[in-house]
Symmetry: C2
Subunit: 424 residues, 2 copies
């Protein structure tokens, strides 16, 4: 008997009909002879509605109370799901994050899981019950206050619980069939990837593919827990995220590129005329770190000999740009830079593939394809298995399409389809 | 510095504007130099909306899951109230029933409080914070599952917490000005009662006055905790429920009747032709008790010598009548009674007053007033400080009006106004 952990997102349980459909799928998994633990998000727009209520009573609600408020959402969906399963003749019990033993730090709104003690879940499973657990939430170790895990929180709950329970698989149900070689809305020839490595899935997530969140893949990788990303609207196999996607008797060579991801949510800030002295760049990024801003790519030009000054450009989430510019302006006099340039009309296009480690020509081919498509590159950043470029936001589609074709990912070009992200 | 416990019902926090208004009232109490602990119900129609969702996924939802679902309601209102208070510059922290130490038995949907361990609330108060506690909910001692307290649950939470915290007063905020000598919608001359005893308030609650629930007054009486029932829409003094309402330097004689309560929610069942043998009545009421039906009044006629049979009539909540009739039909053959008569077109009118102990003529005066008003009495029941009669449902208004006038309760008749219930 296998232990299957399933996670259903808000779009899968948006209304009573959705909850009933999910209940049937869970019962089918149980009937197939598995123990089942389910993690569920809040119904459809519940979280947005609660946020709206909060805004009506306070422009800046305290984090502790906002977490208390938002966790009502999963409480509703998990209780309803347990009822719907009971109505199909199977015993189900719902558990809050706290009851399920999801122990976090005290950072309200973005708490990190520091321990999982799923005693009550194990007890329920031993008693033959289906356990339904609230995603996205936990309880702080120090203050015993209710916390939320922030973006991608429910996926992280699912993987963390699956790891703590030594589950055989963690199934992440979503509204698409899995991970694709590129966003099908941009590249019609994009194909679903059957298997992919943790490392590649992490790079894809970091580069804008929204199907799986970086945190959840990191967690699964640490515990070597297989993730199966699939649609709650069909019974098709989805994408497996595993240690080595090529183990399964496949003798074929690893493809160079697994997929093309893109991200339109970043902005670019350039600090112009920074005195080229030791410690100036450090001062800038220390200020940004103090403002809790996550920097993505950084480029520093060689200083012009005549002026002894240099320009530093970096990208960051657009949502953080006002805070970043304000923080930088406060240190303008102290550092002595000339001005700040801001551009949120950018996009990031990334090639991801474990195979590029052994293929030195990838960069040249990628840049060549972009040049042929008339796309200008503004910034470049690379890792061992990824190349990212910043381009104009209106050139993202052309760049993704050109890269996808250049690396033979189009559906009519390859036999073994590999990997990508929808970029939603 | 006094410790004030305040309870706000769902109509007081029905929307963002209501929550902000309640927040201002709480802050005003704090600014007046008091420590404040607040118990809050779910917003307006939230509970009904959640029940409706539950019905959509399951016709008979398990009690444990229904409690998990419904407790989301207070979680939302208490977090929003804490935010609204924070927005006024005061520190507030919300606590679930479980966090506030409300320990109950495991009877989902109608749990009883068996202990209150308010350590976290005391800690918050000592830290100068305003504690906001979810009404209506607790956690079971045995299973650690979330429970709800059933009807009148938030009032009971308020009184139980106030007792455990040794509060100076428990203020119950509602949408009327306090307890009245009769329902003002029936008796225009009804007057608000300034002070009333626990015993009288309990009889009023048991006889259909809906302002305070019986359980909550019982609890307050046991701990001699003063309750102040008042409106959240005005700053007027309301009704004080206390041990001895006449202590305050008043030398006037206790009024005979404090108020007239009525109740249209009961039905009457008559079991016709019960063999007049030892144990038959016991068998009937044992069956009803097993079906968890609360019987109110019981009348058994003297058996007719010719037949050796008798009729037994009793009243019960109309909502329970289908279950009761079904249970009785199952034992009809065994007991050998002839038939069951059912009547839900009845009403109960009750005179309540501690003064009637020393005034033997009350019953005669009450029945005389009803006779003059042409009201026929179907059943009678009495306690030391109450007389109740069952009348036709369409005669309730006439009976209440006649009794109110007969005992000099009308506003233009008495100086010291005493006591009653709105009967909502």
């Amino acid at each position: 008997m296998a232990l299957v952990v399933q996670k259903y997102g808000g779009s899968s349980v948006a209304d009573a009909a959705g909850i009933k459909r999910v209940a049937q799928r869970i019962v089918a998994t149980r009937k197939a002879g598995n123990d089942v633990v389910v993690i569920v998000s809040a119904m459809g727009d519940t979280t947005d509605e609660l946020l709206d209520l909060a805004q009506q009573v306070s422009p800046l609600p305290p984090g502790r109370e906002l977490d208390m408020l938002l966790t009502a959402g999963e409480r509703i969906s998990m209780a309803l799901l347990a009822m719907a399963i009971a109505n199909l003749g199977h015993e189900a019990r719902s558990f809050t994050g706290s009851q399920a033993g999801v122990i976090t730090d005290s950072s309200h709104g973005k708490a990190r899981i520091i321990d999982v003690t799923p005693g009550r879940i194990q007890e329920a499973v031993r008693a033959g019950q289906i356990a339904i657990v609230a995603g996205f939430q936990g309880v702080s170790q120090d203050t015993k206050d209710i916390t939320t895990l922030g973006r991608g929180g429910s996926d992280t709950t699912a993987v963390a619980l699956a790891a703590a329970l030594a589950a055989d698989v963690c199934e992440i149900y979503t509204d698409v069939d899995g991970i694709f070689t590129a966003d099908p809305r941009i590249v019609a020839a994009a194909r679903q990837i059957p298997r992919i490595s943790y490392e590649e899935a992490m790079e894809m997530a970091a580069c804008g593919a929204k199907i799986l969140h970086l945190r959840c893949v990191e967690y699964a990788r640490r515990f070597e827990l297989p993730i199966h990303v699939r649609s709650s609207f069909s019974s098709r196999e989805g994408t497996w995220v595993v240690s080595d996607p090529n183990t399964e008797g496949s003798e074929m060579e690893q493809p160079i590129i697994s997929g093309v991801a893109h991200d339109r949510s970043e902005a670019k800030i350039t600090v112009v005329g920074v005195p080229d002295k030791v410690g100036e760049a450090a001062a800038i990024f220390k200020t940004l770190a103090a403002a809790e801003i996550n920097i993505d790519m950084i480029v520093q030009n060689i200083s012009a000999a005549a002026t002894g000054r240099t320009d530093i450009s970096f990208t960051l989430p657009s949502a953080d740009s006002t805070v970043a510019v304000t923080a930088l302006k406060r240190i303008q006099e102290q550092i002595g830079f000339e001005k700040i340039l801001f551009d949120d009309q950018i996009g990031k296009v990334s090639l991801v593939g474990a195979g590029m480690r052994s293929h030195p020509g990838v960069t040249a081919k990628f840049f060549g394809a972009l040049a042929d498509a008339g796309v200008n590159i503004e910034m470049i950043s690379t890792s061992e298995i990824r190349i990212s470029v910043i381009v104009g936001q209106d050139e993202v589609d052309a760049a993704v399409t050109a890269a996808h074709r250049a690396f033979d990912l189009d559906a009519d070009q390859v036999e073994a389809v590999v990997y990508g992200g929808t970029g939603r």
